[in-house]
């Protein structure tokens, strides 16, 4: 029989214990408030302060731009609102809307053809069609200038330019060719996830293939199409290289030229309007996403039927090939051609490798810093979910959707005013990369951390590990692959980045991206091409990760 001393018994607490109130000293009140602020799970003070510092420094440049714009003065606001802004608004909005619509058309049709139809070679096209997204758009624009521009291949062949690239239509062509893969990838992923039972249910209810497409498949894809469209619109809004190279005026290029002419106050006003536009697009996204959310009812997915195209097969293949030729083959051919000429003329000299080294240095520094800074932010967000941690997360990620020119403008102001001894150093370029690309590192780090159960942290705590030791001996080893992938992505993004680099680099500090820009602006194609090819090669590195994500 079990012995009596192995006991559990209810206790009768004295009235004193029952009535015990937390003494209402100031310290106790502050403590209580702190507890409530963090929803009962406060992090250590150091971690909280670190997170807050990261969030504020990431958001500061952007907020500062708005702040300066507010003090730009009524007269300047009115003059800009009357003069420049309406025209810019029209040009920006028209190119954004048309690019988005065209990208949706191309992206959805291609996704459908390579995922759900028996288009020949569809497995190869699935990943080849993602390639244009990896190539920075301004490199695409450079390639098209080399091909269709006044001194391009075709013009030389025909004796005159067949088509004015320096126009709305030229910008639309280049932007669409290099942005449509957003829609293509996201819709393709949705098609892959789609359970065939939905379409079978529709068929059993008496619908024909055409009716099924419009009444089941398209509504099912709507969230994916919407997400792809929003992403395309955001990228077009913040696009600088293409519009500036093709001398089309949108907000980003206008801000850039305003800064070049040292009218920074006007630049802040234009930046504020551009940010408002970006927020409006994000608002649309929030609205549509909130209403339409589909959940698959089961995890059992059976791959949908492949539609037999019959003789339309050849038309489908032709469409895929045309897009591939224009978006991948042609740009690569032109760039390779000029690179060969460039190399023959000694383009790969010491200067070239200096540029490459500069690129690697600033991008590498930004990548390492992004990994280090992302860790506390994602840890706070995942393990101490509360208002402050959400705020820190949002602030740290505020540079995500914003154009590089705006970030650069904010940094110029800040460093000029408060930290002038760092102004005109490569450090500013690194900071700009951090503001823009920290969210990428946060995304990867956060995704890996969400795979680690909080019970793991708690177990380590109960085994005698203080919070910071838990972080370094358990959490970091577990999420290291995700952190490194995020860092690699930041590195590649930083290598590709053009506007912030262009604006913030100290004199004489050229990177590969800057060289592509400068040489192609001056139509020295054989000098621009090798740097562009090198950027493309680096950009293609994360293709494998990208495809496995979507």
């Amino acid at each position: 029989m079990r012995t009596l001393d192995l006991d559990a018994r209810p206790l009768q607490p004295s009235a004193a214990v029952r009535g015990q109130q937390r003494r209402s000293t100031l310290a106790a009140q502050v403590g209580g408030l702190w507890m409530r602020l963090w929803a009962g799970k406060p992090p250590g003070l150091f971690l909280a302060l670190l997170g807050a510092a990261i969030g504020l420094s990431m958001a500061w440049p952007i907020l500062y731009v708005v702040w300066r714009a507010l003090w730009a003065g009524r007269a300047r606001w009115l003059r800009l609102l009357d003069g420049r802004i309406p025209g810019l608004l029209w040009q920006t909005a028209s190119i954004t809307v048309t690019t988005t619509l065209l990208s949706v058309g191309i992206g959805v049709s291609l996704a459908w053809l390579v995922h759900r139809c028996d288009t020949p070679g569809r497995r190869v096209w699935r990943w080849l069609l993602a390639v244009p997204l990896m190539v920075p758009s301004y490199v695409g624009a450079v390639a098209y200038v080399m091909f269709l521009g006044p001194r391009g291949w075709l013009s030389t062949l025909l004796g005159r330019a067949p088509f004015n690239l320096y126009s709305f239509w030229g910008v639309l062509l280049v932007l669409t060719l290099f942005k449509f893969p957003y829609v293509f990838l996201i819709v393709g992923a949705a098609l892959k996830r789609m359970n065939r039972s939905y379409e079978e249910a529709a068929r059993s209810l008496g619908l024909g293939p055409w009716a099924i497409f419009w009444r089941v498949t398209v509504p099912f894809l709507q969230p994916a199409i919407g997400a792809g469209a929003i992403l395309t619109a955001l990228c077009t809004l913040s696009e600088f290289g293409v519009v500036a190279l093709l001398r089309y005026n949108t907000f980003t290029s206008a801000i850039y030229y305003q800064m070049e002419s040292y009218d920074r106050t006007a630049a802040t006003v234009l930046s504020s309007v551009l940010m408002a536009l970006t927020l409006a697009v994000l608002g649309i996204e929030r609205l549509t996403r909130g209403r339409r959310r589909f959940h698959q009812t089961t995890n059992v997915t059976r791959r949908p039927d492949i539609l037999r195209l019959g003789r339309w097969k050849h038309v489908a293949l032709l469409w895929v090939l045309v897009v591939l030729a224009l978006a991948v083959l042609l740009p690569l051919a032109v760039l390779t051609y000029w690179s060969v000429i460039g190399v023959a003329h000694g383009a790969l000299d010491g200067r070239f490798w200096t540029f490459a080294l500069n690129s690697i240095q600033v991008a590498g520094l930004a990548a390492v810093a992004a990994v280090v800074l992302a860790l506390p932010v994602v840890y706070l967000r995942a393990r101490h979910p509360s208002l402050p941690s959400v705020l820190i997360d949002k602030l740290s990620g505020s540079g995500y959707a914003l154009p590089g020119v705006v970030v650069a403008l904010g940094l110029i102001f800040l460093f000029n005013t408060y930290i002038p001894w760092l102004y005109n150093t490569a450090f500013l370029v690194v900071v700009a990369y951090l503001v823009r690309f920290l969210p990428q590192a946060m995304q990867y780090g956060g995704a890996s951390l969400s795979q680690v159960s909080p019970r793991i942290d708690e177990t380590a705590r109960s085994l005698g590990y203080a919070p910071w030791r838990v972080l370094f001996s358990v959490i970091v080893p577990l999420i290291l692959p995700g952190l490194l992938a995020g860092g690699a992505l930041v590195f590649v993004s930083a290598i590709k980045e053009l506007p912030a680099t262009l604006i913030l680099r100290p004199p004489g500090f050229d990177t590969l991206a800057v060289r592509v820009w400068v040489e192609s602006s001056e139509a020295v194609y054989h000098m621009a091409a090798p740097a562009a090819v090198l950027i493309v090669l680096v950009s293609l590195l994360p293709l494998k990760w990208m495809l496995s994500r979507y």
């Binding site: 001393d5 006991d7 607490p13 015990q20 109130q21 929803a39 109960s462």
Partner: protein, 355 residues
């Protein structure tokens, strides 16, 4: 000395009105194996997390071996409490081998020796270099237990230790868990929603509902003398019959008849109570003279469970009818619709409050 003392501990989660644990007081003596038993939402896991230090109590005090770890002006972080935790999903570190998992919290110079010792205790010698994903569910649980025991904790807390195991393994692990905890001389507090697990393994059971204690007692006490209607129905099945205590206090008068009850109750003659009759305390009898006063009823349904034949019997009363659950021997020769006579086994009627 008490290993765990909770004094009027209250915890309300942010954003909820009802406290998860409401002014709960409990003492667990050293070396005891105690189960917190309750339905989901009864606050049992919260009690565990409060003791471990993963949640902070709003009021009250928590003492571990006479050390105040939580209370007004006192807070000891989880890592300084010396509490061993075994989670429902085991939470083994996936990047460490079994040996390194077990040695994670034990940093003494004799670490290797201690790892060997506890692995032997949980019968996993030879698995040192395996990784968690290479182990079965039962083995993972042993590793989690070994890891918690390695640093000789003041108290081991186990959250739903059997819920991730299949039925066959479950019965085996109950015995194993008890053997291991007793061999380690550990004080253990378990959380379970399964009364069979609780009855089988515990020295004492604490029944919880709505964040308050319903009853504390040995498994026999809980089963044979439930403190209230909730305990009577939650721990095992019960037939509850409304009635009144007779003049001597030795029987209860119900619509179905007068039943002799246990004598160790605290109800006064004439008090309204419920007679709690377990399905296995009812037995079928051949028709007897009317004086013996068996309960007669019609079998509504029969469920064959292997060990027994569970019958629902409808009994006519003065103003209507009442259904009784009766556990018959599995070989009983009965059929639905048959009229049977039932008798209550002597000393098998417990009284619970009429509230």
């Amino acid at each position: 000395m008490q290993a765990i003392e909770l004094w009027a501990v209250t915890k309300t989660y942010p954003g909820t009105a009802q406290p998860a644990v409401a002014s709960l007081s409990l003492a667990v003596s050293q070396g005891a194996l105690v189960t917190l038993l309750g339905p989901s939402g009864s606050g049992k896991t919260t009690v565990l997390r409060l003791i471990a230090g993963f949640e902070r109590a709003d009021a009250g005090e928590i003492l571990l071996t006479d050390r105040r770890v939580s209370g007004p002006g006192a807070w000891v972080a989880p890592e300084r409490r010396g509490v061993g935790m075994v989670f429902q999903d085991y939470a083994l570190f996936p990047h460490l081998t079994v040996a390194r998992n077990v040695g994670f919290g034990y940093r003494g110079p004799d670490q290797a020796e201690r790892i060997r010792e506890v692995l032997e205790l949980v019968a996993l010698t030879g698995y040192e270099t395996r990784y968690p994903h290479e182990l079965s569910g039962g083995q993972q649980q042993r590793v989690a237990l070994a890891r918690a025991l390695a640093r000789r904790p003041v108290v081991v807390l186990l959250d739903e230790p059997f819920s991730n195991l299949d039925a066959a393994l479950r019965t085996h692990m109950r015995l194993e868990l008890r053997r291991i905890l007793k061999a380690a001389g550990a004080t253990a507090l378990l959380v379970s929603h399964d009364q069979a697990d609780a009855l089988a393994i515990s020295d004492r059971i604490v029944v919880l509902k709505g964040g308050t204690i319903q009853q504390v007692g040995s498994p026999q006490e809980i089963y044979q003398r439930p403190a209230n209607r909730f305990v009577a129905t939650f721990v095992g099945q019960s037939n509850l019959l409304a009635g009144v205590v007779d003049n001597e206090g030795a029987a209860v008068i119900t619509d179905l008849g007068v039943f002799a009850c246990r004598h160790d109750h605290a109800y006064r003659p004439g008090e309204r109570v419920y007679a709690c009759i377990r399905p296995d305390s009812l037995e079928m009898v051949p028709e007897l003279p009317a004086s013996d006063d068996p309960v007669q009823g019609t079998i509504l349904s029969l469920t064959y469970t292997g060990q027994a034949l569970d019958a629902v019997v409808e009994v006519r009363t003065v103003d209507g009818s009442q259904q009784l659950l009766v556990r018959l021997p599995s070989a009983a020769d009965v059929r639905e619709g048959q009229v049977v006579a039932l008798r209550v086994a002597p000393e098998a009627v417990a009284l619970v409050g009429g509230g």
